[in-house]
Structures are given as C-alpha cells and as structure tokens.
C-alpha cells in the first residue's frame, strides 16, 4: 500500500475524499473532465491535489472522438467527476488508505521513524 512521501500530502489526503481516489490505484476508472471529454484507464497515481495519472487510456474528446493514450496526466482542477468502479468497496478502501497513512506516521521502525509532526515549538 503506497502512501505519499510528503507529510503535507498525507495530511491533505487524510482530511479529504482524495483518499478514496488514491485507493483506486490499479483499478480501471473513468474520469470526466471539465470540458466534457472523458478518459478511461488504469489509475496509476492520484496525489493530494487530485492530479490523476492513468495508463492504457481510452480518451474520448468532447466531440465524441475516441483515441488511445499510453499515459495520461490530468490536473485535479480539470476533473469534474471520477467514476468509482463498481467492484470497489468504498468504505474498505478509505479505511485501508487511512491505515496505511497511520502506519507510516506512528510506527516508524527503530531508528527509522519518520520525523513527522514535530510539535509546534513553544512561542
């Protein structure tokens, strides 16, 4: 289970439904874009800003013309909808992602604990 290497991104993800999209990694999903084109492909990455990376994509432009794209990166800003595939258990996916984040945060190994979240320094 991969989580972001960035403290800030983990925090953002944990507090938004982007965490669900991140759990779609490996699944084939359809993304509706703002300009009404759509992209269907295998999710390879979703970051905290909802930028979505897809592979083996069928891209249908707003005129309805389809083409194949090997890889596609679409910015979060330009996404209107992400269709959650039927086979995905939404609750379980969110829980799994949260667990992964908490594993990284709280259970760093012996000398390898991530130096995350130092307390706010006293003012």
């Amino acid at each position: 289970m991969e989580v972001s290497h960035s403290v800030k991104e983990r925090t953002i993800a944990e507090n938004s439904l982007v965490i669900l999209l991140q759990g779609l990694r490996g699944h084939v999903a359809t993304v509706d874009l703002r300009d009404e084109s759509t992209a269907t492909g295998r999710v390879t990455n979703v970051d905290a800003f909802m930028n979505v990376r897809l592979a083996e994509v069928t891209f249908t432009d707003r005129q309805g013309i389809a083409s194949r794209l090997d890889e596609l990166f679409v910015t979060g800003r330009n996404i209107r909808y992400v269709h959650i595939p039927d086979e995905v258990d939404i609750r379980a996916t969110i829980e799994r992602q949260l667990e992964a984040i908490h594993r990284v945060r709280y259970f760093g190994g012996r000398d390898k604990g991530r130096k995350e979240f130092p307390r706010a320094k006293p003012k």
Binding site: D35, L69, R77, F107, R119
Partner: protein
C-alpha cells in the same frame, strides 16, 4: 490561420530543467511550428525553435498531458498537451482554430482549449518527457482550490498536536526529535540514566525504580551490588547513541 506572433526570442531556461528534448517538433492546433528543443523546467514548459524563437506555457494553464502512440489518431508518436488559454492576437479577429479549439459562445464557463503536440525524433524519450511533466505539474497545485480549509501552508501541518487536542492517540518521538525537546533538567536526567545503563546489568540485578546518585551511595554501604561487565550488544534495542 494561427497567429505566430506569440513566438518570442528568449534564452533557454537554465534552472530546474527536469528534461530537455532536442529535435522536437512543436505542433499547435494541427499546424507545425518547426523543429526545436523542448525544455521541461520546474517553472514553465518552453519550446525553442532552432532559430531561437519559441514560446512558454505555464503549468497552471495546462489541463492535461499524455503520451500518444495511437497512429490512427495522429501519425506520429508524441507528447500531447492540452492548454486552457488563447493563442491569438487580441486585435485580429481569428476564425475558430482548426482541430480542437472552439470559440464557444459567450459562455463564461467554457474556457478556450488549445492542443499542442510535441513530436520528438527520438520516440523512446516520450516516457521521460511525460514523467518530467508530471513532476513539474505537481509543483504547481491549483491556487484557486475551493478547499479553503487550507492551513497546510508554510509550516507543516501539525496533525499530531491537533489530534492530541481531540483524544489520546499514542505518539512516539524518534530519538533525535525527542532529544531536542528536553529541558536542561531533562537532559541531565537522561545523561544520568544513560550512565547508569552503561554500568548496570540487566534488570534482575537492579532495584525497581530510578535510583539517584544519593541512593546508589546508600546501597553501596550495606549491599553487595554485583555489577557485571556490560555485554556488548546487550542494550541494542535501546535507542541510545553512545
């Protein structure tokens, strides 16, 4: 037709260039701009024709990019970049651009879309070009994000401190960060304890509880304290740096 006046002369970017691809044709809305070098830099995406003129695109204007190897859709493998911007002079009334850009009615919601294709002569470079663009795009998150709950700016958001206010979630310090939070008194105590660990044997020989300097002296009078030499590695799992 396409107004070429947006092409300007400028020096190639020098900093933060994640990928540079020479011998790359730039195609704007179906019309070739010639051969040049594509610079995928952290600040912006630039293309410079071999003659020295070119253009730059700011990442926030790029809605998506992709690797296209579908020769039915376009005869050459290329990096496809879709941009939310106009590429025409303001004075001239252009007919709607071919292939992709449409002048929708005065509907404010629909922004102009312009399609760029960057066709490298070296097709095997497309992966690297795509990845470099992903990395650079990620450096420019949307400032207009509606998620106003954005106190993640600057200082790392202290989730731990926040959560402690809400409940008792166990937290851990790594050795280094724990150290930095000790007061002078805490430091002294730590040093004393470390010293004791270095001298003492495993717990069966120790009195329960922490012994101060004074209490050690006390016991030394009456009791035979059997202090065995420290076995190397005995305290390996203690997070103590000697």
């Amino acid at each position: 037709g396409v107004a070429m006046s947006f092409l300007k002369r400028f020096p190639p970017p020098a900093e933060g260039v994640r990928h540079q691809q020479p011998d790359t044709e730039a195609v704007l809305a179906g019309r070739s701009l010639g051969a040049g070098t594509l610079y995928i830099a952290e600040s912006r995406l630039s293309w410079l024709e071999n003659s020295g003129v070119g253009f730059s695109l700011d990442y926030p204007t790029i809605s998506l990019h992709a690797v296209s190897r579908d020769l039915n859709a376009y005869p050459w493998e290329h990096l496809y970049v879709m941009v939310n911007a106009k590429f025409e002079e303001e004075e001239t009334k252009e007919a709607p651009m071919t292939e992709g850009e449409e002048e929708e009615d005065s509907d404010d919601d629909v922004e102009p879309i312009v399609e760029f294709r960057f066709v490298p002569s070296d097709k095997s470079a497309l992966e690297a070009m795509f990845t470099a663009m992903c990395e650079c795009q990620a450096l420019h998150p949307d400032p207009d994000d509606e998620d106003s709950d954005n106190d993640y700016e600057g200082e790392e958001y202290d989730v731990e401190a926040h959560e402690l206010e809400q409940g008792d979630i166990p937290t851990f310090y790594t050795y280094e960060e724990g150290l930095s939070h000790l007061t002078a008194e805490g430091q002294a105590t730590l040093e004393r304890l470390e010293g004791m660990l270095a001298q003492s044997v495993s717990s069966q020989y120790n009195m329960a509880g922490v012994r101060t300097e004074n209490s050690i002296r006390e016991f030394e009078d009456g009791m035979e304290v059997d202090i065995a030499p420290v076995v190397a590695g005995q305290f390996e799992d203690a997070e103590v740096d000697h």
